[in-house]
């Protein structure tokens, strides 16, 4: 970061972000005890986690005010990350594969 940044203002932001992260954590745990259905819980949980992660990345890691070359590198990583995330889908969704349900696995004893 360059020298002219008003560090006192930054510190105030850090404490605000810290508060928001704590609230987010509480909210995630709270939502868990609400006992909602799995898809809703997944959506809420991952949404809050993404918001928290963005807060960390943007403010603690200064991504909100970063140089172009780092944005480019991260954009590239995101592209390949998406390809990587396609992987579990490819592993589990193979339309040719039949089910093997008839084969029961009976463990001995």
């Amino acid at each position: 970061m360059s020298e002219h940044v008003d560090i006192d203002k930054q510190v105030r932001i850090y404490f605000l972000v810290f508060g928001a992260l704590m609230v987010g954590t509480a909210a995630t745990v709270g939502a868990y005890y609400l006992d909602v259905s799995v898809p809703v819980a997944l959506t809420i949980g991952l949404f809050i986690a993404s918001v928290k992660a963005s807060l960390v990345a943007c403010f603690f890691m200064h991504l909100i005010d970063e140089k172009k070359i780092i944005y480019w590198t991260l954009a590239l990583t995101v592209a390949f990350f998406i390809a990587l995330m396609a992987l579990p889908i490819l592993t589990s969704v193979t339309d040719q594969v039949g089910d093997f349900a008839e084969v029961e696995a009976h463990e001995p004893h």
Binding site: I7, T25, A31, V38, K52, T77, M85
Partner: protein
């Protein structure tokens, strides 16, 4: 011989070498944990609905993990405050926040240790189920990162901080870079916590 741009920023990119290096390292970390998350999703999708049962059987301790999340978030705050103190030129406060960060990492690991031993006491091992396998793989790798980050921070807070008097900018930059790593480790935990304990 001097390597250019170790401290001062490159006029074109506006960054020094270390900053680019640490971000490149973090991109590879993104792909590393990404592959593990992909594995997690695959195992969960392929579990034929047994996932919730495996998770319940593993008896993860949610209050402890919540506490651990709070500890890591607090350590992120102290980390960034350590850097801010250096920016302000306050060596004493930097050391205070630096050791607080390392200490938070230590608390996190101690809690993690209690969590792990509780699992082992109940004979929940990585081999017991795919849930426990990926749980131990990911949280274990994360814990290794915490240890690495602690060592890094401890060096700059302790012996490394002598440079403050000769090359303050260098120290500030290094602390910023180790902070980036530390925040990334925190960021990974922010996903690990709900994914394993709550969802």
């Amino acid at each position: 011989m001097e390597i250019p741009y170790t401290v001062e920023a490159h006029p074109e990119t506006g960054l020094n070498n270390g900053k680019i290096g640490i971000w490149l390292f973090l991109t590879s970390e993104v792909m590393l944990f990404g592959a593990l998350f992909a594995t997690f999703i695959m195992l969960r999708l392929g579990s034929d609905g047994n996932w919730a049962a495996m998770q319940a059987e593993a008896e993860l301790n949610i209050p402890l993990a919540t506490l651990n999340t709070a500890v890591l978030i607090a350590s992120s705050l102290t980390m960034v405050m350590a850097w801010a103190s250096l920016m302000r030129g306050q060596l004493g406060r930097f050391k205070l926040f630096g050791w607080l960060t390392v200490g938070c990492g230590g608390i996190f690991l101690v809690i993690k240790y209690f969590e792990y031993t509780a699992k082992f006491e109940h004979h929940h091992y990585p081999e017991s189920s795919t849930f426990l396998a990926i749980y131990f793989a990911m949280t274990g790798l994360h814990a290794l990162h915490v240890i690495g980050g602690m060592a890094w921070n401890a060096y700059f807070t302790g012996p490394g901080s002598k440079v403050f008097h000769t090359n303050r900018q260098w120290l500030t930059d290094r602390v910023e870079h180790s902070g980036l790593f530390w925040h990334f480790v925190d960021l990974v935990w922010i996903f690990l916590f709900p994914v394993f304990y709550l969802l």
